[in-house]
């Protein structure tokens, strides 16, 4: 049995760590690229969203590398994503990969125990302590990655030589991937955070702050959004987002069953405009707009084309009392980098001007 899974950002690193410790045969398809996209688009029904097309491309590439057991998120009550595993398995069979099985991993349905049981099945009945220790190690890699990324988001906006932080981040990802015990991991984290802090920065700069909201996959997979965070960093913008995989796993696996929900705050903020969960991340998009209206300078709303929950969110968002500039970017296979950059530049210009005007007004007042 050889296992493969689609990419989403750096998700493959924690999974690789976990599967290595359990001696599971795991292939990593090439990082999502243009070829993946063409493969996915070619074999997908036309009306589907970019997450489907890209993950299908990943799965096909994994199958080409000999993977026969593919993992794919599923579950009722999210959006059509819950149906994807079934359709993608059909497509793979029709393409001639007859022995491929797509296993749906439903986080919200299976909960922690269900997830561990799936891992146990994949690992040929490894003993429980071994599974739990491997799972913990994977999680700590995920946490380390996200901790470093948070620092990178801050440094990118103010670094003097643009691109230094990104380069260090790439090195850090490599080091975390290589780390094979907790000590090495801790050392890598301390090392790179230190190096990131030592990058020469523009100390006078007060970067505008832009929040990234929208659908989980396009927010977390840089290929699908042309690495919007780095591009904003190059324009001197500090990027913030609430959506981190480590946070998400922490809550959905460990804290939600105990009744603690980090999203309650966001949902409560959305209530006057949207009273119920509409699947996907639609409720959160509306809520985050309301919550961040006074804290950020602007928001970039990333939406896969034809995404059902985000269309509802897009229709509701302009009508909220809490006002903040929002740039909606539709992500699909037709999007071009130049087009996106032009819009980003115009948006950032607008935010910077707005801030200058406000500063002037304050100075006059005092």
């Amino acid at each position: 049995m050889r296992i493969g899974m689609p990419h989403m950002g750096n998700l493959y690193i924690p999974f690789k760590a976990m599967f290595q410790r359990l001696n599971i045969d795991f292939v990593i398809p090439p990082l999502t690229n243009q070829h993946t996209l063409s493969l996915g688009v070619k074999h997908s029904p036309e009306g589907l969203c970019i997450p489907f097309k890209l993950t299908l491309g990943n799965l096909i590439e994994a199958a080409q590398l000999g993977a026969d057991t593919l993992l794919m998120p599923t579950g009722y009550g999210i959006c059509r994503l819950g149906y994807y595993a079934k359709t993608q398995e059909q497509i793979l069979h029709d393409l001639g990969y007859y022995n491929v099985e797509v296993i749906g991993v439903g986080i919200s349905e299976h909960k922690l125990l269900g997830l561990l049981k799936i891992i146990k099945r994949l690992s040929n009945n490894a003993p429980w302590p071994k599974i739990i220790s491997a799972f913990r190690f994977g999680l700590s890699k995920l946490n380390t990655l996200d901790r470093i990324e948070r620092v990178v988001q801050k440094v990118r906006a103010v670094e003097l030589v643009k691109g230094t932080a990104n380069q260090l981040f790439a090195e850090a990802i490599g080091a975390i991937d290589k780390a094979d015990d907790y000590n090495a991991l801790k050392k890598a984290q301390a090392d790179y955070i230190d190096q990131l802090n030592q990058i020469t920065k523009d100390n006078q700069a007060e970067p505008v702050v832009v929040g990234i909201i929208g659908e989980l996959y396009v927010v977390l997979e840089p290929f699908s959004n042309f690495d919007v965070e780095s591009e904003l960093g190059k324009l001197g913008v500090e990027v913030r987002r609430t959506m981190f995989l480590s946070e998400w796993t922490k809550f959905s696996l460990f804290l939600n069953p105990l009744g603690i929900n980090e999203k309650d705050r966001i949902h409560k903020a959305a209530l006057p405009y949207l009273k119920r969960d509409i699947g996907g991340d639609g409720w959160e998009s509306v809520g985050e707009k309301v919550l961040h209206a006074n804290r950020y300078d602007g928001l970039v709303h990333l939406v896969p084309f034809t995404c059902m929950p985000e269309i509802i969110a897009q229709n509701i968002m302009p009508k909220t009392k809490e006002n903040i500039p929002v740039l909606t970017i539709l992500c699909d296979e037709q999007i071009t980098k130049t087009g996106m950059l032009t819009r980003l530049e115009a948006f950032v210009d607008l935010l910077q001007r707005k801030r200058r005007v406000e500063n002037n007004r304050q100075r006059v007042a005092t």
């Binding site: 059509r80 149906y83 699947g279 269309i311 509802i312």
Partner: protein, 335 residues
């Protein structure tokens, strides 16, 4: 008397008799918007972002046409009507979205229907809706029982008498001309039997689908629709094709498609709109199955605001011509 506005769009075709009975039992008057027109669609589309799907734009057009004519607007948020199924976000967010994009709308009566939460939650939701008219729970109970009976009668009219929802609604409101049309719609010597699959708000909105059913019947074809099948037939077809239903209204597409693919109809036309989330997957499942079986010709028609009538007609003619020729060949082969 309180006037309740019900837009003639989306779930109207499934539940109108039920809703009407419920509100009338509670002493309200029900106002329905007129059939879809070009102006309604244009007004509806002007309110929302461009990639919103056609049925929702049509729906908002209907809401806008009712604004002055009623005191309350009834827009339910239906999450599931069966266990472990899930509905498109657009149905769930419909009341909130309407509130946001049609601020001049009269207050919106919304009700959360979610069978997954159990019977108690359902009864509470119904009572909460009834509270707007009476405090008396028994009156609400009576009204909802009457509404349920009306719904069952309506389903019965469609599945055993072969009426379309539009005909059945006319029948329940007692319009006599229907009888005539119902018998005329089933000519004894049809050239071909063609099944249409898709959601009722596409199949029976003549403006949206460019009078598809009418065109097929004019050309002496017998038209079958998902409503003419019984629940058992639909469910067994879903089990065959997809295993377990995921969507709340899966039977209209996968169920009916699966059944008609193997029931000896001459051809199937799948009707969906551009950008429809559930249909993009369900229609694809039916298409894949059709390719595998190689028994029944299948065509998928995607509708949107810009669909030109001539385009639909051309594709329809090409499809039916192919079916007639296929039938002739079969007859010749037998001789």
């Amino acid at each position: 008397m309180i006037r309740i506005g019900i837009p003639r769009a989306l779930l109207y075709y499934q539940y109108y008799p039920m809703w009407k009975t419920f509100f009338e039992e509670l002493g309200a008057e029900v106002v329905v918007s007129p059939p879809t027109s070009q102006a309604m669609l244009a007004e509806g589309s002007a309110r929302v972002v461009a990639d919103t799907c056609l049925p929702v734009k049509v729906f908002l057009g209907h809401v806008l046409s009712l604004v002055e004519k009623c005191d309350w607007m009834f827009i339910p948020a239906i999450r599931s009507v069966k266990n472990n199924t899930y509905n498109c976000s657009k149905f769930l967010g419909l009341p909130d979205m309407t509130r946001a994009v049609v601020p001049e709308s009269p207050p919106i009566l919304d009700i959360d229907i979610d069978i997954n939460k159990g019977k108690r939650a359902l009864y509470q939701a119904i009572y909460k809706l009834g509270r707007h008219f009476t405090w008396n729970p028994f009156k609400v109970r009576q009204a909802s029982l009457a509404a349920w009976q009306a719904h069952l009668n309506y389903r019965e009219l469609m599945s055993s008498h072969g009426l379309t929802p539009v005909e059945a609604i006319a029948e329940t409101s007692g319009t006599p001309e229907v009888e005539h049309k119902a018998s005329a719609s089933h000519p004894t010597s049809a050239r071909a039997t063609i099944a249409l699959i898709g959601h009722p708000y596409l199949l029976y909105d003549e403006y949206v689908n460019h009078r598809l059913i009418h065109r097929l019947e004019q050309a002496d074809n017998k038209v079958l629709t998902p409503e003419m099948l019984t629940t058992e037939e639909l469910e067994s077809a879903i089990a065959r094709l997809a295993g377990r239903a995921y969507w709340t209204y899966e039977e209209e597409v996968v169920g009916a498609g699966g059944h008609y693919l193997q029931s000896g109809t001459d051809g199937i036309i799948g009707i969906m709109t551009f950008g429809c989330g559930p249909d993009s997957l369900m229609m694809d499942a039916v298409r894949r199955h059709a390719v595998k079986l190689r028994a029944t010709p299948f065509m998928s028609l995607t509708l949107e605001e810009h669909t030109a009538e001539a385009g639909v007609v051309t594709r329809l003619e090409a499809f039916t011509d192919m079916i007639y020729r296929r039938k002739r060949r079969q007859v010749e082969a037998c001789v």
